[in-house]
Structures are given as structure tokens and as C-alpha cells.
Amino acid sequence: MLDVLLQPVGIVHYFLLSTLLFVIGAMGIFLNRRHVLSMLMALELILLAVNINFVAFSVAHGNVEGQIFSFFILTVAAAEAAIGLAILVIFFRRHHTVDVAAMDTLKG
């Protein structure tokens, strides 16, 4: 019984975990698609899944470049979160809602 717990962890485990995480994040985008803030959080989950994949495969190959790439993903994710939240704040200031359906100003 305890032998199972001491089994080594393979790339397949990490791959399946990141798949599940990705799917949960994608579900979050569709289930909360009226609420921009929830969509942004689900997007962070998706990026986390991608990062886990990159790092796990980098360890499997014995090549650190996957981890380097995950840094750049992290950088862009942080920048995206900052800009996205700033846009959200000014949108809320003008429209008093974060409903995606209300974002039709560019329709003219």
C-alpha cells in the first residue's frame, strides 16, 4: 500500500496535472465569461498550467531552457495582469460594471 506512495513521479503525471489545470482554467473562462476579473484569474491558471508543462519537460530533458522560457511567460503574465487590471479599473470607473456585454463602446 505504502509502496504506491513512494513510486517515482514521471513526466506523464505532470503532463496530466497540467492538462487538468488547463481545462479547469478554460472552463473558468467560459463559465465566467460575463465577468472580466474572473476571466483574468482563469487566464492566470492557464498560464500556470503551461509553466508547469515547460518546467516538467525541462527537467525530463535535463535542459534548463524550458525553465528560462517559463520566466519569460511569467514576465509577460505579470505585465498582462497589470495592464488588464488597469483597463478593468478605468472601465469600471466609466460604466460601473465589469460585464463583458457592456464593452461595446467601439461599435460607435
Binding site: V4, L5, L6, Q7, P8, V9, G10, I11, V12, H13, Y14, F15, L16, L17, L20, L21, V23, I24, G25, A26, M27, G28, F30, L31, N32, R34, H35, L37, S38, L40, M41, E44, L45, L48, N51, I52, V55, A56, V59, A60, H61, G62, Q67, I68, F71, T75, V76, A78, A79, A81, A82, I83, L85, A86, L88, V89, I90, F92, R93, V98
Partner: protein, 199 residues
């Protein structure tokens, strides 16, 4: 190892579900922080310490706190926004399940054929993870490293410019205007007669 992996990944998925399904937005952000801690533990387990700690520093320290601030600034009824999507909920879950089953089938039929450690254990590399990363990041990827810095700088400037508010009716100091004032234009000398004052 599999026990530890199962432990952390269970709580990671639990946190992710909390982000998607929790009723209150603050709870969703806290679930996100919880999920990121577990993900960091999973990454540290396979020897990617620096990425794991970066995840905690960047996400928990900066991004999640940013989310919390924004959640506190906005007053949003999440349930009202979600009610509109409720009829499609079972379809979303159905397609998610289909996607997972497809990936499972793919892995089952084509097991990854990688290097030596492909199907076996993920063994942490010998030696210093941070040193190994630095040797590559500051040499081969130095231009991209600078570009990442520029991206962060641009994001910072962009966020400040976007949210900076010019309120009307606020008296603020305009230094150029102050310096342009001359005594001849603004100061008048009056000689009021005694006992009457200046009109």
C-alpha cells in the same frame, strides 16, 4: 514521491476549482494564491527551485495582491453575471471532459518518447539550479532578458498612465505658471486714507 505529488496536485486542482466556482470574488483570489503555493511546491519537488520560488514571489507577492486590490475597488455581483451563463454550464463541462479524454487517449496511445528519464522518474538535476539558470539566462538569452525588462517597464508606465485620474475642481500647483508671474501684474500698491481701509 508519488504520495507528495498526489497531495500537492490534489490541493492545486482544488484551488483551481475554487477560482472558477467560488461565489465570492475575494474567495476566488485566495484560492488562486492557494493554488500557486501548491504549484510552487510541485515545481520545487522536481528540482526547479528557482521557478518555484519565483512563482511565489511574482504571483503571490505581486499579481494576487493586485487582484485583491482591484476586487476591493470594484463592487460586482458575481452571481448576477454568472446567472446568464448557467444554461450553457453543462455544455462547458461536457466539452472540458471531452478534451481531457482526448488528451488521456493521446498519452495512452503515444507515450512520450523523450530522453533517458522519459517514462521513469523526474530526477532533479545535480548541482545548483540557480547557477545553471544564470549561466544560460545571462549569456545566451541576455537580449531576451533585456526585452523582458523593457516589457515590465512598459507595463508599469502603461498601468500608471491608464489609471492616473485628472480630477476637475482640484487646486494643484502649476510651477511654470507660478514662475511666469511678475510683480507688476499682480501686486498693486494702495495708500488707503487713515480710518477707511482698502475698498
Amino acid at each position: 514521491m508519488l504520495g507528495l505529488f498526489s497531495f500537492f496536485s490534489f490541493f492545486l486542482l482544488l484551488g483551481a476549482l475554487g477560482v472558477v466556482f467560488s461565489r465570492h470574488t475575494v474567495h476566488a483570489v485566495l484560492s488562486l494564491i492557494f493554488a500557486f503555493f501548491n504549484a510552487a511546491a510541485l515545481l520545487i519537488m522536481i528540482g526547479a527551485e528557482f521557478v518555484g520560488f519565483m512563482l511565489i514571489v511574482v504571483y503571490v507577492g505581486a499579481v494576487a495582491v493586485l487582484f485583491l486590490f482591484v476586487v476591493m475597488m470594484l463592487d460586482v455581483d458575481r452571481d448576477a453575471l454568472r446567472a446568464a451563463v448557467a444554461p450553457h454550464k453543462k455544455w462547458v463541462i461536457f466539452f472540458a471532459a471531452v478534451f481531457v479524454i482526448e488528451i488521456l487517449a493521446l498519452v495512452a496511445y503515444h507515450p512520450p518518447q523523450l530522453g533517458a528519464g522519459a517514462m521513469g522518474a523526474l530526477v532533479p538535476a545535480q548541482g545548483d539550479n540557480v547557477r545553471a539558470l544564470g549561466m544560460v539566462l545571462y549569456t545566451t538569452y541576455a537580449p531576451l532578458f533585456y526585452a523582458a525588462g523593457m516589457i515590465l517597464l512598459l507595463a508599469m508606465i502603461g498601468a500608471i498612465v491608464l489609471t492616473l485620474r485628472q480630477r476637475s475642481g482640484v487646486r494643484r500647483q502649476v510651477i511654470a505658471q507660478q514662475n511666469a508671474r511678475r510683480a507688476e501684474d499682480t501686486v498693486t500698491l494702495a495708500k488707503p486714507p487713515s480710518g477707511e481701509g482698502v475698498l
